[in-house]
Symmetry: C3
Subunit: 350 residues, 3 copies
C-alpha cells in the first residue's frame, strides 16, 4: 500500500468527507536489480524490469469527472543514473511517462508523453509481462522489431510517443478502445537516410514527421479469454499491426500468442516487411510462477531470428519477488549471432 | 490539499502535540499541457505555465523561529525531460528553486537559487499571472526584455539568481521589502562580447561578474489597491527598474499596469535603453476568468514591439482549469516579424 | 520525524495491524548552504555537507525478513543542478545511492550503487563526521587520497562502487562486518595511463577492471570506545587500508584517530605509496559542538600535505544547525600550495 493510500484509508475511517475533492499524491515505484551473464560479456549487474519512481494523483471534480496526472522517473539501479538508452544516452527524467488528463463517463483523455496504446496493449499478451529485458519478447519479437519514435533523440525510447494525446474508452461489455495521436514536431533526433542518401537523407536532422503518428488498439476480455488487435504508424511512416490472444486454461495455467507484422516500405529500399510471432505460457505453483516463450522474427531477405526463454519468479510477498531467467536468441546479424542470456535478481515494488 | 497537509490535519485533530517541531515534507506541483499553434510552426503540444514537482517543508524551532526549505523540479510534459531553455539546453534539475533558510519576527532569510525579487514582484502585476508562455507578458514586455543571469549557462534561466541570499521583510501596514544579493561566481556561461570584440569580449568565458548582482523591490497592499517598485542589476551591469499598480475596481474586475526601463549602457555600444509598458485586466465571471493585456517595448533605434493578448480560464475546481489564449506580437526583429500564438490546454495543480 | 513515520505512528495508534506488511515510502533529505571563502577565489555560495533528497522504504516479509530500497538524489543548492563532480560533470541523478535488498537474521544484502564499506566506515572516525567539504578530512587525508572508482565517468564519485553487492553482518557483541564486491564492468570512464604510455595506456577507454573491486571493514563498539579496520581494492588494483579508534573521554569530549595507507604499485611507476593520519576531537557544550582535526598525508617522493581544521556547529533543533569552519591545508602540489578555507552556513534535515 502506498503512503498516500494509507493516509486516504485513515481519512476514510476517521475524517470522511473532509477531504472531498482533494488530490493525494501517490509515490510509487520499482527497484529491480540482479546479476546478468550474456554471451561475450563479463558478469554484470543490471536490471530485468524497468526501474521507476513515480508521482501520481487524481482529483474528484464532481459529476463523475476526475483530473489526473502521472509523472514517472526511470533510472538504472546499478549506476544511479537516469535510464540509459541503447546507445548510452541518458533518457528524459520522466522517461516512464508525463501526462495530465481528465476522466469521466466518456473515458479518459490524457496529453503529454507515454507508452503508445499499441506497445502497452501488446505487452499484456507477452509471457514475460512486458519486461524490457532481453529475456522477454516485448521490445523486439512481440512487435516485429517496430519503433514508435524514429525521429526522437537516439536512444530515448522505442515504444513511446512524445507530444501526443491519448484516449481510452470506458470498458463496455469487455471491449475497450485505446488510441493516441501525436503532432509532427521533430523530437531532436538524427537524420534517417531511409530511401534517400547519406547526403540527402529521406528525413534530415530536424525534419518533422511526414504524417501524424498514431496508435490504436482494441481489447476484448471474456472470463478466461482475452483478445487484442492493434495498429500503429510512426513519424517515418513505418506501420505495424498485431493480433493476440490469451487463455487461462486452468487457474494456474495461462497460454498466450501474438502475431505481428511491420511494413517499412516507406523508408526502406529492401527488407521492408517483417513478420513475427510469439507463443507463451505462465504457470503458477504456490508462490512460484514459471514463464516460457518461443518466437520467431522473419525480415524479408534477412536471417530469421529465433528466441526461446524460460523464467521463474518466486514471490516473497505481493510486492517483492526473486527471479531467474535463461534465454537464447539465434540468427542475429550481430557477432555473435547466437546470444545466451542468464539473470537472477530481486524485484521490489513500493 | 497536499498529502502532508492531510497528515498534519489529522495529527492536529488526533495526536496534537506529539509532533511539535517536526517537518512535514509537502509534495506539490503543476502539470500544464495543451495544443499550441504559432505562426510558421506546425501544431505542437506544449505548455502555458511552468511544470513543477516540488518538495518543501518548515520546522518550528521555538520562539517564532522556523527553518524552511524548498526544492522545485521543472520539466516538459510533452517530452518528459527537465525543463528546456530557449536554446535546447536542459535546465538544472531543481530549476524552480533550491533554497534553505530561517523565518522569524525579522522576516525570512534564504540562501541558494530562485527567482529574483524583481521578477517575482513584477509577475504579480501582469495580467497572465506570470505565465512564461508567449501569450503572457512576464518574460519580455513586463521587464523590458531584461535578463537576470547573463553569465549563467546559456538557456538556464532569465529571471533567477544562482549563488544568492534572499531577504523578505515582514508585512508591516501593507508594506513589504524583498531583496536578493548574489556572489560574483561565474555560472559557466558563454562569453559576452558587450563593448569588447569577438576576440576580446567584455566578459570572456569563465569571467566573474564585474559587480555583485542584486535585486530589490517594495510592495504596498491597501484593500483593493496594490503598488510595486523594483530595481535590479545583473552580473554584466545591466540595470532595470519597474513600477506597477493594480486596482480591483469591482470584486470581478482587476485592472493593472506596469512601466519598466532597462539600461544596458555598460555592455552595449548602441540600443542601450529599453522602455516598456503593459496594461492589463482580469475579469471573473462564475467559474470563468478573462485575461487581457496590451503592451509595447521600445528599444532605442530598434523596431517597436507591440503585443496584444486575450485569454480565458475555466475552473473545473480550485486546482484544475482549462485555458485558451490568443496573442499577437508585432515588430519583432526575427522572421516573421509578426507572430500569432494560439493555445488551448489544461492546468492541474497537486 | 519524517512524513511517513508520522503516518506510521498514527497507524500504530489508530489502525494497528491493518497495514502489516506494507511499505511506507519515507522522503528525507538535507539542504546545506552557506558562504565560502577560499584562498585565491572570490566569496562564493556553496555547501559543506552533501545535499540530498531521498526515498526509502522497508517491507516486512514475515519471519523477520524485510525487503528494503533506498534511492538518494544529490544536488547543488546554489545552482539547483544535480551534484557536480570536481571537473564540472553532473553526477548521476541518484548519486547518493540506489540499492535494493533483503534484511534478516543473517544480516543485510543489497545490490546497486552506494558508498563502499571502506569509505562509509572511515567516515565515522573523522572529526568532521564525513563532511565532503575541504574543511573536513574524509575525502583526502582520512583515506590517504584513495579513489574507489577510477574507471567510472570522470567526476562521478571517489568513494562509491557501481555495479556491486553489499553485505552487512548483524551486530554481534559489538562486532560488525561490512563488505562489498563489484563486477568488472567498465563505468564509461577515461583511459588510465598508469604503467603504460599515452598511446598504450594501462587501462584504455572502455577497459574493464583487471580484478573485481572489493571493500571490507570490521568495527567494534564497546561503551565509550570504538575501533575499525578496513581494506579496499579498486578496478585498477590500487589498495588502501585504514585503522581507526574513537573514545568518549567524557560525555562531552570525543577523541579519535585514523591511520591509512594506499598502495598504487600496480598503476604507478613512482610515488606509489601514501601514508596518512588524522587526529580529531569533538567537544559538545550545550547546543554547540566544537570540531577539531589535524592530519598529514605523505606520498613517497612528493611534498607532505598537512591540514588543520576547526569547526563549530550550533544546533537550533535536532535537525537544523548553523556552522562555521576555518581550515588550512599546506604542501599542495597545486598553486597556491597553501589554501585557507572559511565557511559559514546552515544545515537543515527533513
Amino acid at each position: 500500500m502506498k503512503q498516500s493510500l494509507m493516509v486516504v484509508a485513515l481519512l476514510g475511517a476517521i475524517a470522511a468527507g473532509s477531504v472531498h475533492a482533494q488530490t493525494a499524491v501517490q509515490i510509487y515505484g520499482t527497484v529491480d536489480a540482479g546479476l546478468i551473464k550474456r554471451s561475450g560479456q563479463s558478469l554484470n549487474i543490471g536490471k530485468r524490469a524497468s526501474n521507476t519512481l513515480g508521482f501520481k494523483g487524481t482529483e474528484e471534480l464532481g459529476n463523475g469527472l476526475k483530473a489526473l496526472f502521472q509523472l514517472e522517473m526511470r533510472y538504472e539501479p546499478d549506476t544511479g543514473t537516469n535510464e540509459i538508452g541503447a546507445n548510452g544516452t541518458q533518457r528524459p527524467l520522466f522517461q516512464g511517462q508525463s501526462r495530465v488528463g481528465l476522466q469521466g463517463d466518456f473515458g479518459m483523455v490524457r496529453i503529454g508523453r507515454g507508452l503508445t496504446p499499441y506497445h502497452e496493449t501488446v505487452g499484456a499478451f507477452e509471457p514475460f509481462h512486458a519486461s524490457p529485458s532481453p529475456a522477454g519478447f516485448w521490445t523486439d519479437l512481440a512487435v516485429a522489431g517496430y519503433t514508435s519514435q524514429p525521429l526522437d533523440v537516439a536512444g530515448y525510447s522505442n515504444n513511446r510517443f512524445s507530444n501526443a494525446a491519448w484516449y481510452n474508452s470506458p470498458l463496455t461489455n469487455g471491449f475497450q478502445v485505446n488510441a493516441a495521436f501525436a503532432t509532427k514536431e521533430n523530437g531532436g533526433g538524427p537524420a534517417v537516410i531511409g530511401r534517400g542518401t547519406a547526403t540527402a537523407p529521406q528525413y534530415p536532422v530536424g525534419a518533422e514527421a511526414s504524417v501524424n503518428p498514431f496508435s490504436i488498439t482494441g481489447t476484448y476480455n471474456n472470463g478466461p479469454a482475452a483478445f487484442m488487435a492493434g495498429y500503429e504508424r510512426n513519424a517515418i511512416e513505418s506501420k505495424v499491426w498485431s493480433i493476440g490472444a490469451s487463455f487461462a486454461a486452468t487457474p494456474e495455467l495461462k497460454l498466450m500468442g501474438l502475431y505481428s507484422k511491420q511494413d517499412q516500405e516507406h523508408n526502406r529500399f529492401a527488407n521492408a516487411n517483417t513478420n513475427a510471432w510469439v507463443l507463451g505460457a505462465n504457470y503458477t505453483m504456490g508462490p512460484g510462477k514459471f514463464l516460457a516463450g518461443y518466437g520467431q522474427k522473419d525480415t524479408d531477405g534477412l536471417q530469421k531470428v529465433k528466441q526461446f526463454s524460460l523464467g521463474y519468479e518466486y514471490s516473497l510477498s505481493k510486492r517483492t519477488y526473486l527471479y531467474v531467467d535463461a534465454s537464447r536468441k539465434k540468427g542475429l546479424t550481430t557477432v555473435p549471432s547466437t546470444v545466451n542470456h542468464y539473470d537472477v535478481g530481486v524485484n521490489h515494488s513500493f
